[in-house]
Protein backbone atom coordinates (compact mmCIF):
# COMPACT_ATOMS: atom_id res chain seq x y z
CA UNK A 1 0.00 0.00 0.00
CA UNK A 2 2.72 2.40 1.06
CA UNK A 3 4.63 1.57 -2.11
CA UNK A 4 1.57 2.31 -4.21
CA UNK A 5 0.99 5.61 -2.43
CA UNK A 6 4.61 6.57 -2.84
CA UNK A 7 4.62 5.68 -6.51
CA UNK A 8 5.72 8.45 -8.83
CA UNK A 9 3.93 6.88 -11.76
CA UNK A 10 2.05 9.70 -13.56
CA UNK A 11 -1.56 9.87 -12.41
CA UNK A 12 -4.68 11.33 -13.94
CA UNK A 13 -4.43 15.06 -13.17
CA UNK A 14 -6.83 16.30 -10.52
CA UNK A 15 -7.54 19.82 -9.38
CA UNK A 16 -8.45 20.65 -5.80
CA UNK A 17 -12.05 21.57 -5.16
CA UNK A 18 -13.08 25.13 -4.38
CA UNK A 19 -13.64 24.40 -0.71
CA UNK A 20 -10.41 22.51 -0.29
CA UNK A 21 -8.41 25.38 -1.75
CA UNK A 22 -10.43 27.85 0.28
CA UNK A 23 -9.86 25.98 3.53
CA UNK A 24 -6.15 25.38 2.94
CA UNK A 25 -5.64 29.06 2.31
CA UNK A 26 -7.92 30.17 5.11
CA UNK A 27 -6.16 28.12 7.76
CA UNK A 28 -2.59 27.63 6.56
CA UNK A 29 -1.70 30.69 4.51
CA UNK A 30 -2.20 33.30 7.27
CA UNK A 31 0.35 31.44 9.35
CA UNK A 32 3.05 32.37 6.84
CA UNK A 33 2.66 35.91 8.08
CA UNK A 34 4.57 36.52 11.27
CA UNK A 35 1.77 38.53 12.83
CA UNK A 36 -0.67 35.66 12.52
CA UNK A 37 1.69 33.02 13.79
CA UNK A 38 1.34 33.79 17.46
CA UNK A 39 -1.76 34.37 19.46
CA UNK A 40 -0.06 36.92 21.70
CA UNK A 41 0.79 39.01 18.65
CA UNK A 42 -2.75 38.81 17.37
CA UNK A 43 -3.94 39.96 20.77
CA UNK A 44 -1.44 42.83 20.58
CA UNK A 45 -2.93 43.89 17.25
CA UNK A 46 -6.46 43.62 18.56
CA UNK A 47 -6.02 45.18 22.00
CA UNK A 48 -2.94 47.45 22.00
CA UNK A 49 -2.87 49.20 18.62
CA UNK A 50 -6.44 50.57 18.72
CA UNK A 51 -5.95 51.92 22.24
CA UNK A 52 -2.67 53.72 21.60
CA UNK A 53 -3.81 55.15 18.27
CA UNK A 54 -7.05 56.41 19.82
CA UNK A 55 -5.20 57.96 22.77
CA UNK A 56 -2.73 59.66 20.41
CA UNK A 57 -5.39 61.40 18.36
CA UNK A 58 -7.61 62.16 21.34
CA UNK A 59 -4.76 64.16 22.88
CA UNK A 60 -4.06 65.89 19.57
CA UNK A 61 -7.73 66.90 19.41
CA UNK A 62 -7.60 68.04 23.03
CA UNK A 63 -4.51 70.16 22.40
CA UNK A 64 -6.21 71.67 19.37
CA UNK A 65 -9.08 72.79 21.58
CA UNK A 66 -11.56 70.11 20.51
CA UNK A 67 -14.35 69.30 22.96
CA UNK A 68 -15.93 66.01 24.01
CA UNK A 69 -17.80 65.57 20.75
CA UNK A 70 -14.63 66.05 18.70
CA UNK A 71 -12.82 63.50 20.89
CA UNK A 72 -15.70 61.03 20.49
CA UNK A 73 -15.62 61.59 16.73
CA UNK A 74 -11.91 60.82 16.51
CA UNK A 75 -12.26 57.87 18.92
CA UNK A 76 -14.83 56.15 16.71
CA UNK A 77 -12.81 56.97 13.61
CA UNK A 78 -9.59 55.48 14.94
CA UNK A 79 -11.37 52.50 16.49
CA UNK A 80 -12.45 51.57 12.98
CA UNK A 81 -9.32 52.76 11.16
CA UNK A 82 -7.06 50.38 13.08
CA UNK A 83 -8.75 47.60 11.12
CA UNK A 84 -6.19 48.49 8.43
CA UNK A 85 -3.45 46.67 10.37
CA UNK A 86 -5.10 43.27 10.25
CA UNK A 87 -6.81 43.69 6.89
CA UNK A 88 -4.81 45.89 4.56
CA UNK A 89 -1.28 45.71 5.94
CA UNK A 90 -1.00 42.09 7.01
CA UNK A 91 -2.92 40.66 4.06
CA UNK A 92 -0.80 42.70 1.68
CA UNK A 93 2.34 41.58 3.48
CA UNK A 94 1.49 37.92 2.98
CA UNK A 95 2.63 38.31 -0.63
CA UNK A 96 6.03 39.48 0.61
CA UNK A 97 6.34 36.54 2.94
CA UNK A 98 5.52 34.12 0.15
CA UNK A 99 8.28 35.68 -1.93
CA UNK A 100 10.82 35.69 0.88
CA UNK A 101 10.11 32.09 1.79
CA UNK A 102 10.23 31.07 -1.87
CA UNK A 103 6.72 29.61 -1.79
CA UNK A 104 5.19 32.05 -4.27
CA UNK A 105 6.48 30.19 -7.31
CA UNK A 106 5.02 26.92 -6.01
CA UNK A 107 1.72 28.64 -5.39
CA UNK A 108 1.64 29.97 -8.93
CA UNK A 109 2.35 26.63 -10.57
CA UNK A 110 -0.30 24.85 -8.48
CA UNK A 111 -3.62 24.10 -10.18
CA UNK A 112 -5.55 25.63 -7.26
CA UNK A 113 -8.34 27.98 -8.32
CA UNK A 114 -7.29 31.55 -7.78
CA UNK A 115 -10.72 32.74 -6.62
CA UNK A 116 -10.94 30.14 -3.84
CA UNK A 117 -7.32 30.79 -2.96
CA UNK A 118 -7.92 34.48 -2.65
CA UNK A 119 -11.16 34.27 -0.73
CA UNK A 120 -9.65 31.72 1.62
CA UNK A 121 -6.81 34.04 2.46
CA UNK A 122 -9.32 36.62 3.60
CA UNK A 123 -11.09 34.51 6.19
CA UNK A 124 -8.81 34.83 9.24
CA UNK A 125 -8.04 38.52 8.56
CA UNK A 126 -11.79 39.21 8.44
CA UNK A 127 -12.22 37.57 11.84
CA UNK A 128 -9.31 39.49 13.34
CA UNK A 129 -10.58 42.69 11.75
CA UNK A 130 -13.98 42.15 13.33
CA UNK A 131 -12.37 41.67 16.71
CA UNK A 132 -10.20 44.78 16.25
CA UNK A 133 -13.18 47.02 15.47
CA UNK A 134 -15.22 45.51 18.31
CA UNK A 135 -12.42 46.12 20.81
CA UNK A 136 -11.79 49.62 19.43
CA UNK A 137 -15.44 50.57 19.80
CA UNK A 138 -15.47 49.17 23.34
CA UNK A 139 -12.52 51.46 24.17
CA UNK A 140 -14.44 54.32 22.58
CA UNK A 141 -17.36 53.70 24.92
CA UNK A 142 -15.34 53.03 28.07
CA UNK A 143 -12.62 55.67 27.74
CA UNK A 144 -13.71 58.36 25.31
CA UNK A 145 -17.31 59.06 26.20
CA UNK A 146 -18.86 57.54 23.09
CA UNK A 147 -22.42 56.37 23.51
CA UNK A 148 -23.60 53.33 21.56
CA UNK A 149 -27.25 52.56 22.37
CA UNK A 150 -28.12 48.87 22.48
CA UNK A 151 -30.82 49.42 19.90
CA UNK A 152 -28.17 50.29 17.34
CA UNK A 153 -26.27 47.00 17.82
CA UNK A 154 -27.85 45.06 14.91
CA UNK A 155 -27.20 47.85 12.42
CA UNK A 156 -23.74 48.37 13.84
CA UNK A 157 -22.95 44.67 13.59
CA UNK A 158 -23.89 44.59 9.91
CA UNK A 159 -21.82 47.71 9.27
CA UNK A 160 -18.78 46.25 11.05
CA UNK A 161 -18.98 42.91 9.23
CA UNK A 162 -19.31 44.61 5.86
CA UNK A 163 -16.42 46.95 6.67
CA UNK A 164 -14.16 44.06 7.66
CA UNK A 165 -15.08 42.24 4.45
CA UNK A 166 -14.47 45.31 2.28
CA UNK A 167 -11.17 46.14 3.98
CA UNK A 168 -9.82 42.62 3.58
CA UNK A 169 -10.91 42.73 -0.04
CA UNK A 170 -8.90 45.91 -0.38
CA UNK A 171 -5.91 44.22 1.29
CA UNK A 172 -6.17 41.37 -1.21
CA UNK A 173 -6.24 43.92 -4.02
CA UNK A 174 -3.00 45.46 -2.77
CA UNK A 175 -1.53 41.96 -2.33
CA UNK A 176 -2.22 41.36 -6.02
CA UNK A 177 -0.34 44.53 -6.94
CA UNK A 178 2.48 43.50 -4.61
CA UNK A 179 2.96 40.37 -6.68
CA UNK A 180 4.53 42.56 -9.30
CA UNK A 181 6.47 44.81 -6.93
CA UNK A 182 9.72 43.98 -5.24
CA UNK A 183 8.00 44.46 -1.91
CA UNK A 184 4.51 45.16 -0.65
CA UNK A 185 5.69 47.00 2.46
CA UNK A 186 5.60 50.40 0.78
CA UNK A 187 2.12 49.89 -0.61
CA UNK A 188 0.97 48.42 2.69
CA UNK A 189 2.32 51.40 4.62
CA UNK A 190 0.70 53.92 2.32
CA UNK A 191 -2.74 52.36 2.66
CA UNK A 192 -2.27 51.62 6.33
CA UNK A 193 -2.31 55.33 7.08
CA UNK A 194 -3.86 57.12 4.12
CA UNK A 195 -7.33 56.47 5.51
CA UNK A 196 -6.52 58.60 8.55
CA UNK A 197 -6.41 61.59 6.22
CA UNK A 198 -8.88 60.73 3.49
CA UNK A 199 -11.59 58.61 5.11
CA UNK A 200 -13.11 60.93 7.67
CA UNK A 201 -11.38 59.24 10.59
CA UNK A 202 -10.34 62.31 12.56
CA UNK A 203 -12.39 65.06 10.93
CA UNK A 204 -15.29 65.15 8.48
CA UNK A 205 -14.34 64.45 4.90
CA UNK A 206 -15.95 67.75 3.91
CA UNK A 207 -13.00 69.62 5.52
CA UNK A 208 -10.74 68.38 2.74
CA UNK A 209 -10.29 69.92 -0.71
CA UNK A 210 -12.69 68.33 -3.26
CA UNK A 211 -9.92 66.43 -5.06
CA UNK A 212 -8.93 64.68 -1.84
CA UNK A 213 -12.57 63.96 -1.06
CA UNK A 214 -12.87 62.08 -4.36
CA UNK A 215 -9.80 60.07 -3.46
CA UNK A 216 -11.34 59.32 -0.09
CA UNK A 217 -14.52 58.09 -1.78
CA UNK A 218 -12.44 55.45 -3.54
CA UNK A 219 -11.40 53.87 -0.24
CA UNK A 220 -13.57 51.17 1.36
CA UNK A 221 -12.68 52.55 4.80
CA UNK A 222 -14.52 55.80 4.00
CA UNK A 223 -17.78 53.98 3.31
CA UNK A 224 -17.33 51.51 6.14
CA UNK A 225 -16.70 54.27 8.62
CA UNK A 226 -19.66 56.27 7.34
CA UNK A 227 -21.88 53.20 7.80
CA UNK A 228 -20.58 52.60 11.32
CA UNK A 229 -21.04 56.24 12.32
CA UNK A 230 -24.56 56.22 10.84
CA UNK A 231 -25.42 53.01 12.71
CA UNK A 232 -24.14 54.40 16.02
CA UNK A 233 -26.11 57.60 15.56
CA UNK A 234 -29.26 55.53 15.09
CA UNK A 235 -29.75 56.28 11.41
CA UNK A 236 -32.91 54.98 9.72
CA UNK A 237 -32.63 51.71 7.81
CA UNK A 238 -33.04 53.36 4.42
CA UNK A 239 -29.95 55.61 4.46
CA UNK A 240 -28.06 52.92 6.34
CA UNK A 241 -28.86 50.35 3.66
CA UNK A 242 -27.49 52.69 1.02
CA UNK A 243 -24.21 52.91 2.94
CA UNK A 244 -24.14 49.12 3.40
CA UNK A 245 -24.58 48.71 -0.32
CA UNK A 246 -21.69 51.11 -0.90
CA UNK A 247 -19.43 49.20 1.51
CA UNK A 248 -20.40 45.85 -0.01
CA UNK A 249 -19.81 47.16 -3.52
CA UNK A 250 -16.40 48.53 -2.55
CA UNK A 251 -15.51 45.10 -1.13
CA UNK A 252 -16.81 43.19 -4.13
CA UNK A 253 -15.13 45.57 -6.56
CA UNK A 254 -11.87 45.21 -4.60
CA UNK A 255 -12.00 41.43 -4.76
CA UNK A 256 -13.00 41.48 -8.41
CA UNK A 257 -10.20 43.88 -9.21
CA UNK A 258 -7.76 41.85 -7.15
CA UNK A 259 -8.64 38.75 -9.16
CA UNK A 260 -8.07 40.62 -12.40
CA UNK A 261 -4.87 42.16 -11.10
CA UNK A 262 -3.66 38.82 -9.80
CA UNK A 263 -4.06 37.40 -13.28
CA UNK A 264 -2.48 40.43 -14.95
CA UNK A 265 0.42 40.79 -12.57
CA UNK A 266 1.00 37.05 -12.51
CA UNK A 267 1.69 37.33 -16.22
CA UNK A 268 3.78 40.45 -15.78
CA UNK A 269 5.72 38.91 -12.91
CA UNK A 270 6.43 35.86 -15.02
CA UNK A 271 7.60 38.08 -17.84
CA UNK A 272 9.85 40.23 -15.68
CA UNK A 273 10.94 37.56 -13.21
CA UNK A 274 9.89 39.62 -10.23
CA UNK A 275 8.20 36.67 -8.51
CA UNK A 276 11.42 35.50 -6.96
CA UNK A 277 12.74 38.99 -6.26
CA UNK A 278 12.31 40.70 -2.95
Amino acid sequence: MATALASARPAEPTSPTFWRTFWANAVLAPRTSLGFMRLDFVLGTVFVIPLTQMVFFAFVVQLGGGGASAIAFTAIGNAVATVSYSSVFTVCQTTDNEKTLGTMEHLLVSPAGRFALYLGRGLIPILISLATVAVGLTYAVLLFGVSIPVATFPGLAVSVVLTAFAMVGFGLLLGGVALYLRTSIILGNIFLFIGLLLSGVNFPLSSLPPALQYLGDALPLTWGLAAIRAAISGSALGPLAVLWAAVAISGIVSIGLSMGLWDFFERRAKATGSIARF
Binding site: L34, G66, I186, F193, L196
Partner: protein, 269 residues
Protein backbone atom coordinates in the same frame (compact mmCIF):
# COMPACT_ATOMS: atom_id res chain seq x y z
CA UNK B 1 47.09 32.10 0.62
CA UNK B 2 49.19 32.57 3.67
CA UNK B 3 47.75 33.18 7.05
CA UNK B 4 47.44 36.82 8.01
CA UNK B 5 48.90 38.51 11.01
CA UNK B 6 45.90 39.34 13.12
CA UNK B 7 45.43 43.02 13.71
CA UNK B 8 42.74 44.71 15.79
CA UNK B 9 39.66 45.93 14.03
CA UNK B 10 39.28 49.68 14.35
CA UNK B 11 35.84 50.68 15.55
CA UNK B 12 35.72 53.80 13.40
CA UNK B 13 36.47 51.67 10.36
CA UNK B 14 33.65 49.27 11.22
CA UNK B 15 31.23 52.17 11.66
CA UNK B 16 32.36 53.71 8.38
CA UNK B 17 31.97 50.36 6.58
CA UNK B 18 28.49 49.93 7.99
CA UNK B 19 27.53 53.48 7.02
CA UNK B 20 28.82 52.85 3.51
CA UNK B 21 26.87 49.60 3.24
CA UNK B 22 23.67 51.33 4.40
CA UNK B 23 24.22 54.03 1.80
CA UNK B 24 24.87 51.51 -0.99
CA UNK B 25 21.78 49.55 -0.09
CA UNK B 26 19.75 52.74 -0.08
CA UNK B 27 21.07 53.74 -3.50
CA UNK B 28 20.26 50.26 -4.80
CA UNK B 29 16.66 50.60 -3.70
CA UNK B 30 15.76 54.14 -2.54
CA UNK B 31 12.04 53.35 -2.31
CA UNK B 32 12.69 52.03 1.20
CA UNK B 33 12.66 55.62 2.44
CA UNK B 34 8.96 55.81 1.58
CA UNK B 35 7.52 53.57 4.35
CA UNK B 36 9.14 55.65 7.06
CA UNK B 37 7.81 58.83 5.41
CA UNK B 38 4.18 57.91 4.93
CA UNK B 39 2.98 57.94 8.53
CA UNK B 40 4.72 61.20 9.53
CA UNK B 41 3.46 63.07 6.47
CA UNK B 42 -0.09 61.88 7.04
CA UNK B 43 0.07 62.48 10.77
CA UNK B 44 1.45 65.96 10.14
CA UNK B 45 -1.42 66.79 7.79
CA UNK B 46 -4.05 65.27 10.09
CA UNK B 47 -2.66 67.14 13.10
CA UNK B 48 -2.48 70.38 11.14
CA UNK B 49 -6.14 69.93 10.26
CA UNK B 50 -7.05 69.19 13.88
CA UNK B 51 -5.02 72.15 15.16
CA UNK B 52 -6.37 74.57 12.56
CA UNK B 53 -7.89 77.60 14.20
CA UNK B 54 -6.34 76.82 17.59
CA UNK B 55 -3.65 79.48 17.34
CA UNK B 56 -0.70 80.73 15.25
CA UNK B 57 1.89 78.38 16.76
CA UNK B 58 -0.02 75.14 16.37
CA UNK B 59 1.42 74.75 12.89
CA UNK B 60 4.78 74.48 14.64
CA UNK B 61 3.36 71.71 16.84
CA UNK B 62 2.23 69.78 13.78
CA UNK B 63 5.54 70.22 11.93
CA UNK B 64 7.69 69.47 14.95
CA UNK B 65 5.61 66.45 15.91
CA UNK B 66 5.45 64.95 12.44
CA UNK B 67 9.08 65.81 11.72
CA UNK B 68 10.08 64.11 14.95
CA UNK B 69 7.99 61.08 14.05
CA UNK B 70 9.83 60.83 10.77
CA UNK B 71 13.21 61.06 12.42
CA UNK B 72 12.21 58.80 15.27
CA UNK B 73 10.85 56.23 12.86
CA UNK B 74 14.00 56.33 10.81
CA UNK B 75 16.51 56.55 13.63
CA UNK B 76 14.90 54.49 16.35
CA UNK B 77 13.46 51.77 14.20
CA UNK B 78 15.33 52.02 10.92
CA UNK B 79 18.52 50.71 12.46
CA UNK B 80 16.78 47.89 14.21
CA UNK B 81 14.89 47.07 11.08
CA UNK B 82 18.19 46.72 9.23
CA UNK B 83 19.19 44.08 11.76
CA UNK B 84 15.84 42.39 11.14
CA UNK B 85 16.76 42.34 7.46
CA UNK B 86 20.13 40.87 8.38
CA UNK B 87 18.22 38.00 9.97
CA UNK B 88 16.02 37.63 6.92
CA UNK B 89 18.91 37.65 4.44
CA UNK B 90 21.05 35.39 6.60
CA UNK B 91 23.76 38.04 6.93
CA UNK B 92 23.45 38.39 10.69
CA UNK B 93 25.49 35.22 11.29
CA UNK B 94 28.54 36.24 9.25
CA UNK B 95 28.35 39.76 10.66
CA UNK B 96 28.23 38.55 14.25
CA UNK B 97 30.97 36.02 13.48
CA UNK B 98 33.26 38.81 12.26
CA UNK B 99 35.64 40.17 14.89
CA UNK B 100 34.04 43.63 14.71
CA UNK B 101 31.73 44.50 17.63
CA UNK B 102 28.18 44.50 16.31
CA UNK B 103 27.44 47.66 18.27
CA UNK B 104 29.66 49.61 15.85
CA UNK B 105 27.95 48.04 12.86
CA UNK B 106 24.67 49.36 14.28
CA UNK B 107 26.26 52.73 14.96
CA UNK B 108 27.12 53.10 11.26
CA UNK B 109 23.51 52.40 10.35
CA UNK B 110 22.32 54.90 12.93
CA UNK B 111 24.49 57.61 11.39
CA UNK B 112 23.01 56.85 7.99
CA UNK B 113 19.50 56.82 9.42
CA UNK B 114 20.06 60.19 11.07
CA UNK B 115 20.83 61.58 7.61
CA UNK B 116 17.83 59.81 6.09
CA UNK B 117 15.69 60.99 9.02
CA UNK B 118 16.72 64.59 8.45
CA UNK B 119 15.75 64.23 4.83
CA UNK B 120 12.43 62.77 5.92
CA UNK B 121 11.89 65.63 8.36
CA UNK B 122 12.51 68.08 5.55
CA UNK B 123 9.90 66.40 3.37
CA UNK B 124 7.38 66.52 6.22
CA UNK B 125 8.15 70.21 6.69
CA UNK B 126 7.65 70.99 3.02
CA UNK B 127 4.38 69.02 2.72
CA UNK B 128 2.80 70.50 5.87
CA UNK B 129 3.97 74.03 5.04
CA UNK B 130 2.54 73.73 1.51
CA UNK B 131 -0.75 72.48 2.98
CA UNK B 132 -0.77 75.34 5.50
CA UNK B 133 0.08 77.95 2.87
CA UNK B 134 3.29 79.17 4.51
CA UNK B 135 5.93 78.43 7.13
CA UNK B 136 5.41 79.12 10.83
CA UNK B 137 7.29 81.94 12.55
CA UNK B 138 10.48 80.80 14.28
CA UNK B 139 11.40 83.17 17.12
CA UNK B 140 14.88 81.84 17.76
CA UNK B 141 16.32 80.12 14.67
CA UNK B 142 19.85 79.53 15.99
CA UNK B 143 18.72 77.91 19.24
CA UNK B 144 16.24 75.87 17.23
CA UNK B 145 18.91 74.50 14.89
CA UNK B 146 21.28 73.65 17.74
CA UNK B 147 18.57 71.94 19.75
CA UNK B 148 17.34 70.19 16.65
CA UNK B 149 20.77 68.66 16.09
CA UNK B 150 20.90 67.67 19.72
CA UNK B 151 17.53 65.94 19.40
CA UNK B 152 19.08 63.85 16.63
CA UNK B 153 21.88 62.79 18.98
CA UNK B 154 19.36 61.74 21.63
CA UNK B 155 17.43 59.74 19.08
CA UNK B 156 20.59 58.05 17.87
CA UNK B 157 21.48 56.97 21.40
CA UNK B 158 18.04 55.53 22.09
CA UNK B 159 18.10 53.96 18.62
CA UNK B 160 21.25 52.00 19.44
CA UNK B 161 19.71 50.49 22.53
CA UNK B 162 16.45 49.75 20.72
CA UNK B 163 18.34 48.06 17.90
CA UNK B 164 19.61 45.48 20.37
CA UNK B 165 16.05 44.15 20.53
CA UNK B 166 16.30 43.16 16.88
CA UNK B 167 19.37 41.10 17.59
CA UNK B 168 17.65 39.64 20.64
CA UNK B 169 14.50 38.42 18.94
CA UNK B 170 13.15 38.00 15.46
CA UNK B 171 9.81 39.28 16.76
CA UNK B 172 11.19 42.76 17.52
CA UNK B 173 9.72 44.24 14.34
CA UNK B 174 6.27 43.10 15.22
CA UNK B 175 6.57 44.26 18.82
CA UNK B 176 7.75 47.61 17.50
CA UNK B 177 4.70 47.89 15.22
CA UNK B 178 2.45 47.30 18.20
CA UNK B 179 4.36 49.66 20.48
CA UNK B 180 5.03 52.45 17.99
CA UNK B 181 2.01 54.58 18.90
CA UNK B 182 2.54 53.95 22.59
CA UNK B 183 6.03 55.42 22.19
CA UNK B 184 4.76 58.44 20.30
CA UNK B 185 2.08 59.02 22.94
CA UNK B 186 4.39 58.41 25.88
CA UNK B 187 7.14 60.74 24.74
CA UNK B 188 4.81 63.57 23.76
CA UNK B 189 5.72 63.59 20.12
CA UNK B 190 2.73 65.67 18.98
CA UNK B 191 1.56 67.18 22.29
CA UNK B 192 3.17 68.03 25.64
CA UNK B 193 3.64 65.04 27.89
CA UNK B 194 2.08 66.99 30.76
CA UNK B 195 -1.30 66.51 29.07
CA UNK B 196 -1.02 62.81 29.84
CA UNK B 197 -1.96 61.36 33.25
CA UNK B 198 0.69 62.26 35.79
CA UNK B 199 1.79 58.67 36.40
CA UNK B 200 2.99 58.40 32.80
CA UNK B 201 5.36 61.38 33.11
CA UNK B 202 8.19 59.60 34.96
CA UNK B 203 8.14 56.84 32.31
CA UNK B 204 8.29 59.46 29.55
CA UNK B 205 11.28 61.09 31.23
CA UNK B 206 13.27 57.88 30.88
CA UNK B 207 13.58 58.70 27.19
CA UNK B 208 16.02 61.46 26.18
CA UNK B 209 13.89 62.64 23.23
CA UNK B 210 11.10 63.60 25.67
CA UNK B 211 13.41 66.13 27.34
CA UNK B 212 14.97 67.32 24.10
CA UNK B 213 11.66 67.83 22.34
CA UNK B 214 10.31 69.76 25.31
CA UNK B 215 13.34 72.05 25.09
CA UNK B 216 12.82 72.42 21.35
CA UNK B 217 9.22 73.53 21.89
CA UNK B 218 10.34 76.08 24.48
CA UNK B 219 12.53 77.83 21.93
CA UNK B 220 10.14 77.57 19.00
CA UNK B 221 6.68 78.18 20.54
CA UNK B 222 6.33 81.44 22.51
CA UNK B 223 4.43 80.94 25.75
CA UNK B 224 4.95 77.18 25.67
CA UNK B 225 4.68 75.53 29.06
CA UNK B 226 5.84 71.95 29.11
CA UNK B 227 7.19 70.44 32.27
CA UNK B 228 7.45 73.94 33.65
CA UNK B 229 11.12 73.89 34.54
CA UNK B 230 12.27 75.63 31.38
CA UNK B 231 14.48 74.61 28.50
CA UNK B 232 17.71 74.75 30.55
CA UNK B 233 16.69 71.88 32.81
CA UNK B 234 15.23 70.09 29.84
CA UNK B 235 18.67 70.25 28.29
CA UNK B 236 20.32 68.94 31.46
CA UNK B 237 17.83 66.07 31.60
CA UNK B 238 18.36 65.28 27.94
CA UNK B 239 22.16 65.24 28.28
CA UNK B 240 21.99 63.07 31.40
CA UNK B 241 19.60 60.50 29.97
CA UNK B 242 21.46 60.44 26.65
CA UNK B 243 24.69 59.75 28.51
CA UNK B 244 23.02 56.86 30.30
CA UNK B 245 21.80 55.36 27.04
CA UNK B 246 25.20 55.78 25.40
CA UNK B 247 26.83 54.27 28.48
CA UNK B 248 24.66 51.17 28.65
CA UNK B 249 24.62 50.49 24.88
CA UNK B 250 27.87 48.47 24.98
CA UNK B 251 26.70 46.34 27.91
CA UNK B 252 23.27 45.81 26.39
CA UNK B 253 24.77 44.63 23.11
CA UNK B 254 27.28 42.38 24.83
CA UNK B 255 24.51 40.70 26.83
CA UNK B 256 22.19 40.42 23.89
CA UNK B 257 24.92 38.88 21.76
CA UNK B 258 25.64 36.39 24.51
CA UNK B 259 21.95 35.57 24.70
CA UNK B 260 21.58 34.87 20.99
CA UNK B 261 24.66 32.67 21.02
CA UNK B 262 23.04 30.69 23.83
CA UNK B 263 19.67 30.45 22.10
CA UNK B 264 21.13 29.89 18.64
CA UNK B 265 18.45 31.68 16.62
CA UNK B 266 20.62 34.08 14.66
CA UNK B 267 19.50 32.62 11.38
CA UNK B 268 15.80 32.56 12.27
CA UNK B 269 13.52 35.20 10.82
Amino acid sequence: MTMATVVGVRRTRVTAASLRLAFLQFIADPQWLVPSMIAPVIFGLVSYELFRGAGPYFLTYAILGAGMMSMWGQTLYGSGWATGQDREFGTLEPTIQAPAPYLYVVLGRIVWNVVAGLFGGLIVYVVVVVAAGGPPALPNPLAFVLLFLFVMVTLACVGIVFAAAYVYTRFAGFIQNIGEFAFYVGTGCMFPVVLLPFWTNPIALLFPPTWALDALRYVSIPGYVGFGWGWGWDLVGAVATTAIYAGIAGTVFHRVERHVLEVGDLSDY
